[in-house]
Symmetry: C2
Subunit: 106 residues, 2 copies
Amino acid sequence: MQSLLSDLPAGAQAAERFEDLLTRPGVRIERIVSSGQSTPTGEWMDQASDEWVLLVAGRAGLTLEGAPPLTLAPGDHLLIPTHRRHRVDWTETPTVWLAVHLGDIS
Amino acid sequence: MQSLLSDLPAGAQAAERFEDLLTRPGVRIERIVSSGQSTPTGEWMDQASDEWVLLVAGRAGLTLEGAPPLTLAPGDHLLIPTHRRHRVDWTETPTVWLAVHLGDIS
């Protein structure tokens, strides 16, 4: 047994931390720990696979292109479809995400 | 956006609640809400697919056959491999689980 809440950074960090928890054909479960990071102004993330994301701890702002900004609290989840442009507007320190990448994740 | 913590029962319920959040070939993401249920004494659960499970809220006792009992708190996760017998010893009311079923989930 492991915990998504273990080994969290105490303060701001230079970079987000990505950790694969389980990988299978067509699915990858990942923990992401943010500590204040956001997507650079004017940039969007655009991914080649579907990503189902759950905010586990902390709080974050997320915008899908063309939609109003969302504030995610623990328990909130959504699907970010393949190539749906999105950005992380802000994150608390620390913020823990669970991401389940689906489909062609090679 | 939805929340794993919305629409929770206020007290004990007759049965656990199961809700598919996302289904794809080889993967099914499910919310399970327990409210005091446990596996009947002397019985084991035995599943035909791998199940990665995360305790989201509440608290629960889980035993894998042949291993010491575990107490799961929010953030705790583990893989229950195919046909690994296990039982839920107890659950708080409410307890919210995220289950990701992997492989042959037909």
